[in-house]
Amino acid sequence: MAPTPAQHRADQIAAFRAELARLAAEGVATLDPAVQERIRAHHDATLAQLSATVELDLTQGEARLSAGMRIATVLGAAALSAAWGFFVAALWNDLDRPARLALVSVPPVLLAIGTSVAGARERSGYVAAIVATVATIAFAVNLAALGVLYDLPDSRHALLAVGLFAMVLAYGHGLVLPLLAGIGALGGWLWSLAALPQGRWWDGVFGQFEPLMMLGAVAIALPRFLHRGPPLFAVTYRAAGAMALVFALLLLGQSDSLSVFDGRSKSLIEGGYQFLGVLTFALLIWHGLRRDQNELVRAGTVGMGMLLFLRAVDWFWDVIPKWAFFLLVGALAFGTLLLLRRLRLAGRRNA
């Protein structure tokens, strides 16, 4: 995950201090004590100012602990959401209708308030992220339960409501985890709209991946036009969009039945999307390197690697010996390494 500008500044200060100490220890240069003190005082004031607004990792140890806290946040949100779902299921059959309605509709409200309280009391945002994610899941459970309670036909609008709820919590408190839930839910709602011109039932379109591909491209471009929220939000949009784009293109290149154009020439559809995949993945890598957006480089590299592997399986698995197939895959990996090394050297020369 890319660091925030405040964390980036703190990292720069730490690196400067470490390098200065090293230069002094190696006898290369020593700053004048007065200058050194002025710089130290300025850096201390800067760090104090940054720490007053956001929680920073000031040492390597703190950074490692933060990584652990992020993992704990995801696990905690997943576990508490599952706990909530099972709790509702356990109580559901013992309650009458008004109590069931209260059981599912009150918790999202309480958890939304809880997110606000957690955000105010604990500046790192980890606890607030857990509470907001559980609130989002509780709201999704709420709407699904209403469908069961009142025999309602399933509806795409549940995705819209859950997505809006998650987005309000994410933007209101600057939380990445609910933002991911919001991107997923709103993306699902937008994907389902592709059913309208085809006259399909709303969920009948989730087997067609062109809408997902387009939504992925939109999500990658969105941060250029949407400047609200912390800087990590832009990274999250691009990462989610790149994953959707890569996933959709890989599937479309594998099977024509997953395309809106299913029924026309199989080889044309699959070949066309394989070609589009190569172009898109190369573009992601190039654009990511140019703009220093690691998430795009990673998604493009994974997509290109997967595409090459899947093509190799399709073209060669049945016609060459197994040892030769894996030799070929190994050669492809070497080729990719050489290509990326050349790109890195070219970037160094241009810098």
Partner: protein
């Protein structure tokens, strides 16, 4: 507090929009139908305390529902006339299946051993239910339909599996109806772990709302 207020507003609006119309419809049902329910019409409810759901199982006629949902109706539902050329074709290997279409279906319960429901018509707009018929929404599809035809007067030979492109009802919307605890308790005697037939039945009254909702209103007491 502004984001909190907005989040609470989203929850309240979504709940009111989802439940409000359903509650209004339930307060003033526009029609009722009494159907026979047997153990095979119940889904779930095997675990202690779990409330089962009521299914409206459809018959599976050989060749599908093309005889009651004619081509003109299929076109009115939104199917392309070109998609209908494959109907009845047992050797069809053409392209993708057309998208299923939503339709208002009129159902009538059969009186044979399974008490399943027979589709008697499909409509673009909600029709007025006549006595003894249910009106529910469903997804109508054109699909390959497999049928098992037993050889005449020969129970030793396995049935012959044939297939042809036909009209199918993919699922009803909603696909199952909820029961409250009292209704579930009344229907519980129909569930026998050692018997899968459909001999014992109880009368269940279904109610219909003005906008097409359907729900279980009551279960008659066993005789």
């Amino acid at each position: 507090m502004k984001p909190t207020a907005m989040a609470v507003a989203v929850v309240l609006v979504a709940n009111v929009v989802a439940v409000g119309p359903a509650m209004r419809e339930r307060a003033a049902p526009v029609g009722r139908a009494t159907v026979a329910v047997c153990g095979q019409h119940l889904a779930g409810g095997w675990r202690d305390g779990e409330v089962p759901m009521l299914l409206l199982p459809l018959e599976t006629p050989v060749g599908g529902w093309g005889h009651v949902i004619p081509r003109a109706t299929l076109v009115a539902l939104g199917f392309d006339p070109d998609d209908l050329t494959a109907l009845g074709d047992s050797l069809w290997t053409g392209g993708a299946w057309p998208a299923p279409r939503r339709a208002w279906l009129t159902l009538r319960q059969s009186t044979d051993s399974g008490y399943r429901y027979r589709v008697v018509g499909a409509h673009v707009a909600r029709p007025t239910a006549v006595s003894g018929e249910l009106v529910v929404q469903g997804l109508v599809a054109i699909d390959r339909i497999w049928s098992e035809v037993p050889p005449a007067n020969d129970s030793t030979t396995p049935p012959q599996r044939t297939s042809a492109v036909g009209v199918q009802v993919l699922r009803l919307l909603p696909s199952q109806l909820g029961l409250d605890r009292a209704q579930a308790a009344q229907l519980r005697p129909l569930r026998r772990t050692d018997r899968w037939d459909c001999v014992e039945t109880l009368a269940v009254t279904l109610a219909f709302g003005a906008r097409g909702s359907i729900w279980v209103e009551s279960v008659s007491a066993p005789p």
